[in-house]
Every structure is written in structure tokens, then in C-alpha cells.
């Protein structure tokens, strides 16, 4: 069993790549495989067969004949096959071609004069000194090879060279005559070591003739395990199948060769062997049919195992499966702090934290173990699932042995205890597009079966509760827990590094509630105020105001309770409409209460809406977040609780009757649309008469389309304007739209007024039938209705043709999303791959792994975007407010 290493662990320093020489293949081999069979009739591996026990074991009970290990202990060992005749390794065909071209067919030297060799060697040396990597040197090697290949006569021995062509995939011809792999190997053998660096070979790790195989390594059985089906039937791995083919042909080839069979037969068999070895390496080699399984499925051979998204690299090495994780549906829980996550009891009992037993905690640990894996009780009490003894043995705790194990517990053991409140875990939702997709949360064990968290944390995860599932990981080491708590906790990620503003913040109902609480400063009785504040932890009620002898509280005062002391801030609300004050801001005296003034942590004036507390946009939130993560967490926690108090007391509902507008308004909308449709018809008339003037650089048809689009867009806007004139701020839907909680005025006007022009690819709908969109219209009808203008509103309902057009527009949106996700996903993968190794060093240079400087000062000012003021390194306004306080704010207004 593995023991966890404490303290310093060793690191792999480097990995050297090299080619296997035939000698080395034989040396590392534990068995020479000669029979193509796998198991005998008793199901026992045949000796010298492909499943020889020297190559490792996959069946429980057996022991490896090389290392003596049992199933999970033996790492597996290589075997080898002696090939009767050499064959070419497909992966190196291009290399071999280059080497044959660049060297002399007689003497094997590179076809360059001695002085040229000297020049190129110097050049390579120079490049290496300048820090060129082997692949960069490869570009020089390519040139050398081209140069050498163009020589018709060897400068060393004077031999005339013949042109060598490559018949894909593995056949070489010299002026039409076929070169056997044997001949090729002989030629490659002649190339002296001194010439190899010029050809791009490192003589210390590779020889060209090794690219023509004489011995084939057989991978350990662990790499190609036999699968036993339920029926008891055995099914071999694809690699084993391929190896069987190779051994069979190899044997036949050897027999035929030894018995002196005709050259033709030998050549055929040789070629067949080449085919099998080729497909053994890469079954997608172009130019040859892929080897297939009996069922007709192409075999998955070595290259296929490594390649692509499902390959070893991307699927098993860059990404790994983990234990101590769980996944379930998510649901909201506003009474949790943003730092917390509600974990179902069932999950909490399955997921464990390893705790080292010390003399200080041994009694506590005993108690946990004694409770066993399933402690009974009304409330959740943690127990433990396993203990790990000092020798690494793992003991499962059951109800029966719990007492026993608890007694035996010693210092130095490890107890795997259940999750308890306050444990730190990682919480994640895919797609993990940015670092806020995986954050640290503190556990709150809760009943029921879903993960729960504060709604303010939805934006960073991009989560909603329509059935989304999320993953939770329990950290297993002290270092990991410490790092998670300091670096990954939700409160450390309130500010997004993307734009230096808050990404966690109020949304939907929080914004509506704050709007209701602060807009025009409503009054609340003591009773109401107490209800609103009932979820909140606050020192004392604000000073009450009196009117007609009645005690009451202002909404803004209630909101001020959650503001940090000493905060000074001014900004414009989302509802600000410059038309109201004629672009002359009236500050506190704003008629629509749209200028927020906060003095020493008190909201003096203004409406708290999306611009104050919204995620991504909240200015107030931004300022508080920059005061420190604890203050920010507290503010958001309080905010969500206050919001719930407000909105659940007042009540808030939106319905289709919100979009009811008077007859008069409907008539006006109708009028406007009729007008515009008529205008469009006039344009078409003009076009048909040929009187339309084309816009420069456009055809008449394009001009007409543009003009009609413009006219009809205008119609929809006008309809919207009329509708919103009759929809005031007493309307719930309007409150949501104006305060930025959800929806927009455009959505409302589409419900109340008119939906407007539908489009596909930015043009009016035009495809469908010949010269018309639907058979309901005349051929060549360019009018508004025939080309996808939807006059109706969502509320009134659509006519059948309108409904069809609307679906066309909607479909485009769906297709667009599907295409976009894959395209942007690939772009992000490439970006990450290109930039992943960059880091800032001690003096804020940006360097890559090789130590190359990418930037001399990160971002030209060394400032972390997360800590910037929306991208600005220093916000002078903020500094002046902090230094001069109110005096500056007064002055700024001028």
C-alpha cells in the first residue's frame, strides 16, 4: 500500500525521450513470444504465448513470474517478438525517406562537402547556443537535408545517386525498383554517427536503422487485459488481436524462408507482415485499409489509444478521475452564506476527510470511530468510515467492529471521518470556463438530497436551478485545505479578474427588493420594519421618524443598516433618465430619485438597483468588495437576507395583465404599424418603377431591403414607446425591467405592443417556396407581412403565418448557440494551451517556461486586473474621496 509522504516529496526532474534499439528491446524483454495462442483449455496462460505470465498478471490468484507480484502489485513487463524479416516502422517513414535522400547510397555519408558540413555544424551549434529547442533546430536540419538531397553525385565517394520515391505508406522505390526493408536497413546502418546531428538525429539516443524493426516489443498484459464476459466468454484486447496476426504471419514467413520457398511467396508474406506491423502501430494510416475486428469494427491500435479527445493523453493524463467527489442536482438556499454549500446527509456520510490521530485529538477520534459509518439520531452526527493504521492497512468500520476499532485506535493512525459543518470542499459546475467555475465552499450538512447555495453565487458558476447538477470534491490534504481556504473560498472571488468588477452580487429578486425598499424612500411601520429585518443580524434599529404621532421607518434607513461604516460614494442609478432633468443632473434632488448618495455608510438619496448591487455592474458592491473580502461577504449575505425580508413581506408578482394597455394605446400602435407597412409598400412601389436610388456600393435590391428594415424597425420602436408610455413604475414587470432585475423594456413592448421583424442571417425572411416565403402570399411579394414582419404582440397572439416566421427566427438562435459553443470552446482550448505556462516572476516580469520574457512589466503597470478599479490601475476619484472626503464630492459636482 502507498503511504502518504509527508513533508518534502521528490519531483521528477526530467524525462528523456529516445528510440529503442533492437538490443535494448531484447534486454528489457522478459520473454520471447513465439506462439500466437493465449490461453490453454483450462484458461491458464500458455507459456511463450501472448499472455505469458512473465509479462504480468491480470487474473487474481496468479503471481507474476518475473517479479512475483500479484494483480495490483505487478506493474507488467515487456516481452518481444523476433521478426523473421525487418519491416519499416510507419511512424518514421518520412524520416527514412529523408535519410535515404540525403545520404550516399554507396558510402552512407551525407552528401555535403566537408566544408559545408563544417558550416552547418557551426550553424547548428550557434543556434543551440542561442537557446533554440530541438524542434527549432529541425528547421535547419530540413534545409540541410534538402541541400544534400539535391546533390546528384556523392562528394565523398563520387558515386552516382539514384532517385528514391516513396509509395505511401511504406514502399520505397529506387528508380522503379523496389527497395526491401532489409536493403534500407543496410543503407541506414552505413550512415556514420558524425553525420547524424546534421540529419536531425541525436546519436546518443537514436540510430536511423532502428527505424526499421527487426524486433518488436510486446507490451505487458496489463496494457491489453483480457475481458471476461458474464457468460464466461473471453474477449481479447485489440492489441492482442493484432499481435496474434503478427506472430502468425511472422511464423509462416520464417517457415517459408527457411524451407526455401519461391521469392514471390516470401515477398507476399513479407508485405503482409509489414501491413500487420503498420496497422499495429497506427490503424488509420492513409493508403491502407484499416484492420478490422471480426464484427467489422476497426481495431483501436497504439496510435488510436493515445490520440484525440478520448485518447490516453487528453482523457487519462491531462484529466484524471478522482475519488471523494459527488454530484447531484442543485437548488437555492438564501439563508446560507455565499461561502457555504448545503451538502445532503447521504453525501456527507459517503465523503470523508482523513484526520491524523494525535495525542490531542485521540479521544475525539475514538468517539467518531465508535459512532461507526451510520450513527443514528434526529440530527446529523458525523461518524467515520475507515481507519488507516500506521502500517498503511485500511480497516473498514462497520457497526459491528466500531467499538473494537475505537479501542485499538492509536496515535499515528488516520481516521476517515464524515463531513462536518465548516469543512472546506471544492464546488464546481461544468463547463469550467474560468477559475470561478470551481470555488471553495464551507460545508453545511443539510437534510434532503440536493446541493444548496446562496443565489448570489449563481453568476460565476453560470448556474440556474432548472435541473442543473454540480460536483463537489473533498480535499484530502492539509496543504490543499489551507490553499483552498485562503485562495479558493467564494469570498475571494467576488471580484472577477476579467474586468475587475464584482461577479458575485444581487440578482433578480434582490434587485427588485432593494428597488422597492429604497425607491422614493417608502415608509414602514415598526411592525413592518421588524419583519423586513427579521432575517438580519443587526445592532439596533435606526432612529424612528414620527408623523401624526405615528412611528415609522424609512426604507433607506433600513438599507443603510447593511452598509459598512465610513463609506462615501456617489453614482447614478440604473433608472436614471437624462430626459427627466434635461441632462442637468440634480443630484440629491433628482425627481426620480436616481442619484445615489452615500455618506459615512448612510444612504442619503437615490435608488438601489442593478447599478448599485447587480452582479457585474454594481458600483456599490464593487467599492465594498475592494474594502476586503470579509466585508464584501458580509454585505452580500446581509443583502440577500434583507432582500428576502423585503420581498416576502411586500409580496411581488408579475403576470400577463402587467402588459394590459388601454384601447387607446392599442389603437395608436396599430396606427403606427399600419403607417410603416404602408411606407414599406411605397418603397416597394418605387423599386418596381425603378425609381429607387441605390446606395453607393449597393445594388437596388440591397438598398430596398435596408430601407424596409429601417422603416419596420422604427415601427417596432415606436410601438414600444407607446406601450411604455402607458406602463408606469407601479407595474411589476416595469419595475423589473427598469431596475435591471430581469427582462428589458424591449421584451415588455414585444408583449404589449408588437413583436417586430423576424430575421435570419440579418436579413428579412425570404426563403421557403419559389419567390415567396409561404404559399399564403403572392409570388414576388416583398411586403412587410410576406417577409416576416410580426405585427401582433405576444399577448394578443400570433397569426399562423406570423407564428411560422417567429419559429424561423427562433431556430436560427438555437443553431447559432450550438455552433458557437463548440467554436468558442476550441478557441479557449487553444488560448489556454498557448498561455498556460506564463507566470509573473518576483519583479513582475511575465516569463514562460524557458525563461523567455513576454512582458517586462505585467500589463504595463504591474497591476492585477482583479484589484484594479474596472481596469484602471488607480482611480483618482476614489483616492480623492478617501483623502478629502465629502469636501471632494461636493466640489466634483462643480
Amino acid at each position: 500500500m502507498m503511504r502518504r509522504a509527508f513533508g518534502l516529496t521528490k519531483r521528477i526532474n526530467s524525462i528523456q525521450f529516445a528510440l529503442l534499439s533492437p538490443d535494448e528491446i531484447r534486454r528489457m524483454s522478459t520473454v520471447k513470444v513465439i506462439t500466437a495462442d493465449t490461453y490453454d483449455d483450462d484458461g491458464f496462460p500458455i507459456e511463450k504465448g501472448l499472455m505469458d505470465l512473465h509479462m504480468g498478471v491480470i487474473e487474481p490468484g496468479l503471481r507474476c513470474k518475473t517479479c512475483g507480484g500479484k494483480v495490483d502489485e505487478c506493474p507488467g513487463h515487456f516481452g518481444h517478438i523476433e521478426l523473421a524479416m525487418p519491416v519499416i516502422h510507419v511512424g518514421f517513414v518520412k524520416n527514412i525517406k529523408n535519410y535515404l535522400d540525403a545520404t550516399c547510397r554507396e558510402c552512407g555519408r551525407i552528401k555535403l562537402k566537408d566544408d559545408e558540413i563544417e558550416i552547418y555544424k557551426q550553424k547548428l551549434e550557434e543556434a543551440k547556443k542561442m537557446g533554440a529547442s530541438p524542434i527549432q533546430l529541425l528547421l535547419i536540419n530540413k534545409k540541410i537535408i534538402d541541400e544534400a538531397a539535391s546533390r546528384p553525385i556523392c562528394p565523398h565517394c563520387g558515386a552516382e545517386q539514384k532517385k528514391i520515391t516513396l509509395d505511401k505508406p511504406t514502399t520505397f522505390r529506387e528508380e522503379g525498383r523496389k527497395l526491401t526493408p532489409k536493403e534500407i536497413r543496410e543503407r541506414l546502418e552505413k550512415i556514420p554517427d558524425e553525420d547524424l546531428p546534421l540529419l536531425g538525429i541525436n546519436p546518443e539516443t537514436a540510430r536511423p536503422e532502428w527505424m526499421v524493426l527487426t524486433v518488436l516489443p510486446v507490451p505487458p498484459v496489463n496494457v491489453r487485459p483480457t475481458i471476461t464476459l458474464e457468460t464466461g466468454e473471453r474477449s481479447e484486447d485489440d492489441l492482442t488481436h493484432k499481435l496474434v496476426d503478427i506472430i502468425r504471419i511472422n511464423q509462416r514467413l520464417r517457415e517459408n524462408r527457411d524451407s526455401g520457398a519461391p521469392q514471390l511467396i516470401i515477398e507476399d508474406l513479407w508485405e503482409l507482415l509489414q501491413y500487420h506491423v503498420t496497422t499495429y502501430f497506427d490503424n488509420q494510416t492513409s493508403g491502407i485499409p484499416p484492420a478490422r475486428h471480426r464484427s467489422g469494427r476497426p481495431l483501436k491500435t497504439l496510435v488510436q489509444r493515445l490520440k484525440g479527445k478520448e485518447g490516453r493523453f487528453r482523457s487519462n493524463l491531462s484529466g484524471k478521475r478522482v475519488n471523494f467527489s459527488s454530484r447531484t442536482v442543485i437548488s437555492p438556499e438564501p439563508f446560507l452564506s455565499i461561502n457555504e454549500v448545503g451538502v445532503p446527509e447521504a453525501a456527507a456520510r459517503e465523503l470523508t476527510v482523513p484526520i491524523a490521530v494525535t495525542e490531542h485529538n485521540i479521544e475525539k477520534m475514538r468517539e467518531l470511530v465508535r459512532r461507526g459509518p451510520n450513527p443514528k439520531g434526529d440530527k446529523y452526527i458525523p461518524g467515520a468510515n475507515y481507519v488507516i493504521r500506521s502500517d498503511g492497512r485500511r480497516i473498514k468500520i462497520t457497526e459491528r467492529n466500531a467499538e473494537d476499532v475505537a479501542k485499538k485506535l492509536e496515535v499515528g493512525w488516520i481516521v476517515e471521518r464524515h463531513l462536518v459543518n465548516g469543512d472546506i470542499v471544492l464546488f464546481n459546475r461544468q463547463p469550467s470556463l474560468h477559475r470561478m467555475s470551481m470555488m471553495g465552499h464551507l460545508v453545511r450538512v443539510l437534510p434532503e438530497r440536493t446541493f444548496r447555495f446562496n443565489l448570489a453565487v449563481c453568476p460565476p458558476y453560470n448556474a440556474d436551478f432548472d435541473g442543473d447538477e454540480m460536483n463537489l470534491h473533498v480535499l484530502q490534504s492539509e496543504e490543499a485545505r489551507a490553499e483552498a481556504k485562503i485562495l479558493m473560498l467564494v469570498q475571494e472571488h467576488i471580484l472577477s479578474p476579467r474586468f475587475g468588477g464584482p461577479i458575485i452580487g444581487g440578482l433578480h429578486d434582490h434587485i427588485t427588493a432593494m428597488f422597492l425598499l429604497t425607491h422614493k424612500n417608502p415608509k414602514f411601520t415598526r411592525e413592518e420594519a421588524l419583519h423586513i429585518l427579521s432575517y438580519l443580524d443587526y445592532d439596533k434599529l435606526p432612529e424612528p421618524h414620527y408623523e401624526n404621532g405615528k412611528e415609522f421607518y424609512y426604507g433607506k434607513d433600513l438599507f443603510s443598516l447593511i452598509l459598512p461604516k465610513g463609506l462615501n460614494l456617489e453614482f447614478k442609478s440604473k433608472i436614471c433618465d437624462p430626459a427627466v432633468c434635461n441632462h442637468k443632473c440634480m443630484y440629491e434632488k433628482c425627481p426620480i430619485d436616481a442619484y445615489v448618495v452615500i455618506r459615512d455608510g448612510k444612504l442619503i438619496a437615490g435608488t438601489i438597483d442593478e447599478n448599485a448591487i447587480g452582479s457585474m455592474k454594481g458600483k456599490l458592491l464593487d467599492r465594498i468588495a475592494k474594502m476586503g473580502s470579509d466585508a464584501a461577504r458580509k454585505f452580500i449575505d446581509d443583502l440577500t437576507r434583507l432582500a428576502i425580508g423585503v420581498i416576502s413581506y411586500r409580496g411581488f408578482t408579475a403576470g400577463i395583465d402587467d402588459e394590459d394597455i388601454p384601447e387607446e394605446a392599442l389603437r395608436q400602435i396599430h396606427e403606427v404599424i399600419k403607417e410603416s407597412v404602408k411606407k414599406a409598400d411605397e418603397l416597394i412601389e418605387l423599386y418596381k418603377e425603378g425609381m429607387l436610388q441605390p446606395a453607393p456600393g449597393r445594388s437596388i435590391e440591397e438598398t430596398l431591403e435596408m430601407e424596409i428594415m429601417r422603416v419596420l424597425a422604427h415601427a417596432r420602436d415606436e410601438a414600444g414607446k407607446i406601450a411604455s408610455r402607458y406602463l408606469g413604475l407601479e407595474n411589476s414587470s416595469v419595475i423589473m425591467a427598469r431596475s435591471g432585475a430581469r427582462a428589458s423594456m424591449l421584451n415588455l413592448s414585444q408583449m404589449a405592443g408588437s413583436i417586430g421583424q423576424q430575421s435570419v442571417r440579418g436579413q428579412r425572411l425570404h426563403r421557403g417556396y419559389q419567390d415567396r416565403t409561404l404559399p399564403h402570399f403572392k409570388r414576388g411579394d416583398l411586403g412587410a407581412k410576406a417577409r416576416g414582419f410580426v405585427e401582433s404582440s405576444y399577448k394578443r397572439g400570433l397569426t399562423p403565418t406570423e407564428y411560422f416566421f417567429h419559429s424561423m427566427g427562433g431556430r436560427e438562435g438555437l443553431v447559432d448557440t450550438a455552433v458557437r459553443t463548440s467554436r468558442s470552446g476550441y478557441m479557449q482550448r487553444r488560448l489556454i494551451n498557448a498561455l498556460e505556462d506564463l507566470k509573473v516572476d518576483e519583479d513582475r516580469k511575465v516569463i514562460d517556461t524557458a525563461g523567455n520574457v513576454v512582458q517586462f512589466l505585467y500589463g504595463e503597470d504591474g497591476v492585477d486586473p482583479t484589484r484594479s478599479s474596472g481596469g484602471e490601475n488607480i482611480d483618482m476619484d476614489e483616492i480623492l474621496t478617501e483623502v478629502f472626503g465629502e469636501k471632494y464630492l461636493e466640489r466634483r459636482r462643480g
Partner: protein, 517 residues
């Protein structure tokens, strides 16, 4: 020192040969018609954007075959130069070479005489020097806090000081606060800025539109925007799918719409098919060009221009007859195929204008103070060669072209600008530092490299990281031949072998070992 000199383009191999064998005769494929004072310096450019070598020429004579000479090309050699020595010089962008009247910049990149200011040192120009006021602040901060504030912050401080008329005491208070904040805001060492940048640009990608076309500024012109454009930028495509330029003009021209239109006409390339119809007659095996008088006038083309353009078609021995308002062309040895091919090549014959610019439209600038030319198609080098063009403000969205004409720093700025504009146009807010980092990674080694397997990712140091990205087997196989060593310094390779990555907390190598009690 001003001198007359020669610039030409050659391959690195030839330069190496010259260097090895100098002094040597060197055969080139151009003629030198002017008398030049000897010895003289010539300059060799490798890729046509900057000059890297200087050669001393001691003799110039007509070409004659003789042994031991180095040839620039195999054919059409005209002159022999005696090369004394080859020197490596610090790269000088070609655009810095002054050109003679009448030669365009494009020509300079090939071969031309020019007066050249010899450069002895490379001067790094700052964005601008600090003013006295600013350096006062700079000195103060350096002295008091031992810290050098970035230029942009000093600028802000001085601006506020002047705006508010601050007294010294207040200014110092503010500077103290600024320094305090600035220190707090610095990035942490070992921060994985690359990953953060990649995520910050990639994440909003899902929110972008895929709609390729949008009208940007000018209603008549389509420009690729949104996600496709962003992908195009990071791909470093040599041709954007919709190349455009906005050409600003010098004072005295830009205010006058008529004058600007004149320039636009000069720029817009006109082909025969733009102004005339071509009729193919099989009966007498002839082509007839029928010019449209209206279109001709609009484009300012005369029949003579067409005739002249036709004379450039040397591949055919044409028989051109001008009859009143049409041009008849006959082929001596006519065949259907030849006739067809001729028709095709005549269609796209350029009569005037700049190659690659298919449309130029004159519009008022956004502030409404001047007339600007917007074009479809881009050809920066030639447009900059036009007298009236204000080279400082003129821009193109073809990044590779900018790199070739103006140099790598300009390309880097162009990437930043293009990316920011694309994101902003979609209403997405991404910090400029992230984009800068992407732009710098794409350009820091001197050429514009794409993000992806043909660019940066394909040239990573680590074998494993490359194998994990794309084309797995090829990378592993070549690694074996080259005997590459993976030092496990990056992220991907450390994840693969299962050990902590070298970023953030994993980058710290200092370990504290407490004394044993």
C-alpha cells in the same frame, strides 16, 4: 552620413555563403544604371520587412559567367558585385529607408536606390518623455518610497494636481495614498496570468454572436465581427475574411470632399469588367470590349487606358483594333480554349488604382470634421505611398500586413486594438491586460504567431505538452529521434506526470524546516 545605396532581397543561405567566402563575386539579377561611388555599402533584406545585413561592395560590373561566384538566382543574372565583407547589423525596418520621389514603398522592398541614414545605435523611443512636472513627481516617489510608479499613474497624479490646483501638502497626501493603493494592487508573484488571460478572453466567447456580418461605421461595408473575428485575430490569418482600411488624409485635403473623392478614385482599383462589357464572338474568334460611357466617366477611365492595359498582356500576341467606342481583339492562332482564357484574364485586368482594394467610399468621420476613405480590401504599403495620405492615423484590420509594413510593435498594438474593439462591440468588458498578454505572446519573438498548433502551441518546449494538445503521435515519435528532454517546467507536463504545477503556490521553492526541539 548620407549615402546612396542598394537594397535587395536574398535568402539566408546565400548570405551565409557570402559571409563564408568573402571577398567574392556575387551575381545579382538587377542592373545598376547609375554611377555609384565605390566602395559602397549595400543592404540585404531577408523577408522584405527589415534589413539585417550590410555588405561592402568594392566593384560593380556586368555579369559574365566565371568560376567561384555566388549566384543570387540561377537565371537572368545581370550584374556582378564584388563583396568584401558581410556584417550583421541591428534590424532596421524597411520603412525607415527613405525613398526617392516616384518610387513606392512596395518597390523599395524589392530593389531601389535610396538615401539612407546610417544607424549606429538603436534608440528606444518612449511613448513620450516625462515633463518636468511629471519627473518631479517621479523623483519624489522614487526617493520617498523607493518605488517607480508606472507612467500612466504619474500622468494621472499630475493631471489631478493641475485640475484641482492642489497645494504641495495635499499633493503629498494624495501621492501617499496612491502609493499605498498601488502597492496593494500589484499582481502577486507567480500568479498564473496566462491562464487568467486565456479564460478571460475565452469565457465571454460563449456570449458572443456568431453572426458574421455587421455594419461597422459605414453602412455600405460589411465587416466580420464577433466570435469569427476574434478567432481570426488569434489565428493570425494572413488575410482577414473582410479586409478593410480607414484612410485618413493630410491637412488641406481632408476638409474638401471633392479632393478626398479624387484620392479615393486613385485608390479604388478598377478592372475592365467594372467599366465595360466583354462580348465573345465565336464566329470570327474575337473579343469585343464595349465600354459603358457612364461608368467610364464615373471611374475616370478613358479608352486609351484600356488599350494600354491590354498591351500589358504579353503572353498573347494580340491584335487590338479600336473602332469608335469599342475595342476589338483578335487572337492570331485562335482556339476556343485560348479565347476563353483570354476573356477571363481580360476581365480582371487592373486599369488603375491599388491592387486589392475593390471599393473605396468617402464618408464623414465620426466627429464630422473631416472626410475619411473607407475601403474594402487592404494594401497598406501602397496606400501609405500616396502623397495625400496621413500615415499616422490610417489603419487596416490586416494584422500581418501591419507587421510586414510597420513592424512587430505596430502589429502587437494592432492585435490589441482589434481584439478590444471586437469585444467592446459585443458589449463585453475584458481588461486590456489580458489582451495585451495575448498580443505579446503572439509577437514576442519577432513574428506574428498564431495561437494554435501551427503557432505557439506547436513550439512549446515540452514534448508532453505538445503531445497533449494536438497531433500526439508525431510529437512523440520526433521526440525519440531528436532525443528531446522534457524538463517538466510547464503546467500540462506536470499534470501528466502527476505532480504539482510550477505556478502560484507550486512555484515557491523555498522551504522552511523548523529546528528540532
Amino acid at each position: 552620413m548620407a549615402e546612396l545605396s542598394i537594397i535587395w532581397k536574398d535568402k539566408i543561405e546565400n548570405v551565409d555563403r557570402l559571409r563564408m567566402n568573402a571577398p567574392v563575386y556575387y551575381a545579382v539579377d538587377f542592373e545598376i544604371k547609375r554611377e555609384l561611388e565605390l566602395p559602397l555599402y549595400g543592404y540585404i533584406t531577408l523577408k522584405g520587412s527589415e534589413v539585417n545585413y550590410r555588405v561592402k561592395i568594392s566593384e560593380i560590373k556586368g555579369y559574365e559567367a566565371q568560376p567561384g561566384i555566388i549566384k543570387k538566382t540561377t537565371k537572368k543574372l545581370k550584374t556582378l558585385l564584388r563583396i568584401e565583407e558581410v556584417q550583421d547589423i541591428a534590424a532596421i525596418p524597411l520603412s525607415e529607408f527613405k525613398k526617392e520621389e516616384g518610387t513606392s514603398l512596395r518597390r523599395v522592398t524589392k530593389f531601389s536606390y535610396g538615401v539612407l541614414e546610417e544607424r549606429k545605435e538603436i534608440k528606444i523611443k518612449k511613448y513620450r518623455e516625462l515633463t518636468d512636472e511629471e519627473s518631479e513627481v517621479d523623483e519624489y516617489v522614487k526617493e520617498k518610497y523607493g518605488l517607480s510608479l508606472p507612467f500612466s499613474i504619474i500622468e494621472k497624479i499630475v493631471k489631478t494636481k493641475n485640475e484641482l490646483g492642489l497645494k504641495k501638502k495635499d499633493l503629498e497626501k494624495i501621492i501617499a495614498k496612491v502609493v499605498e493603493k498601488y502597492r496593494k494592487r500589484l499582481v502577486d508573484p507567480y500568479e498564473a496570468v496566462g491562464i487568467v488571460a486565456a479564460q478571460s478572453i475565452g469565457e465571454p466567447g460563449t456570449q458572443m454572436t456568431l453572426r458574421t456580418f455587421h455594419y461597422a461605421g459605414v453602412a455600405e461595408m460589411n465587416v466580420t465581427l464577433g466570435l469569427p473575428r476574434l478567432i481570426e485575430i488569434v489565428d493570425a490569418r494572413s488575410q482577414p475574411s473582410t479586409p478593410t482600411m480607414s484612410i485618413y488624409l493630410k491637412e488641406g485635403v481632408r476638409e474638401d470632399e471633392e479632393k478626398v473623392k479624387e484620392v479615393a478614385k486613385k485608390i479604388e482599383s478598377t478592372t475592365i469588367i467594372d467599366v465595360a462589357d466583354i462580348i465573345t464572338s465565336v464566329a470570327d474568334m474575337s473579343l469585343t470590349i464595349v465600354p459603358d460611357a457612364k461608368k467610364m466617366e464615373g471611374r475616370g477611365v478613358k479608352i486609351e487606358d484600356i488599350v494600354e492595359a491590354l498591351s500589358k498582356l504579353k503572353a498573347y500576341k494580340l491584335n487590338v483594333e479600336v473602332e469608335e467606342d469599342r475595342i476589338k481583339i483578335k487572337l492570331p492562332e485562335a482556339s476556343y480554349k485560348k479565347l476563353y482564357l483570354l476573356g477571363e484574364s481580360i476581365k480582371t485586368l487592373t486599369l488603375r488604382g491599388i491592387k486589392g482594394i475593390s471599393r473605396a467610399i468617402v464618408r464623414k468621420s465620426q466627429d464630422g470634421n473631416e472626410w475619411v476613405i473607407y475601403t474594402q480590401g487592404s494594401n497598406l504599403a501602397e496606400v501609405l505611398g500616396i502623397e495625400e495620405v496621413d500615415g499616422k492615423r490610417t489603419r487596416t484590420n490586416n494584422i500581418i500586413e501591419i507587421a510586414n509594413v510597420l513592424g512587430i510593435e505596430a502589429a502587437r498594438n494592432a492585435i490589441i486594438e482589434e481584439a478590444i474593439n471586437t469585444l467592446e462591440q459585443q458589449g463585453l468588458n475584458v481588461d486590456i491586460r489580458h489582451i495585451m498578454l495575448v498580443a505579446d505572446t503572439m509577437t514576442y519573438n519577432g513574428t506574428v504567431e498564431a495561437i494554435g498548433r501551427h503557432g505557439i502551441a506547436g513550439e512549446k518546449e515540452s514534448v508532453l505538452a505538445r503531445a497533449a494538445f494536438e497531433i500526439t503521435s508525431k510529437h512523440l515519435l520526433t521526440a525519440g529521434v531528436l532525443g528531446e528532454v522534457d524538463h517538466l517546467r510547464g503546467v500540462a507536463e506536470n499534470i501528466i506526470v502527476g505532480q504539482p504545477v510550477t505556478l502560484g503556490t507550486g512555484a515557491v521553492t523555498l522551504v522552511y524546516r523548523p529546528k528540532k526541539r
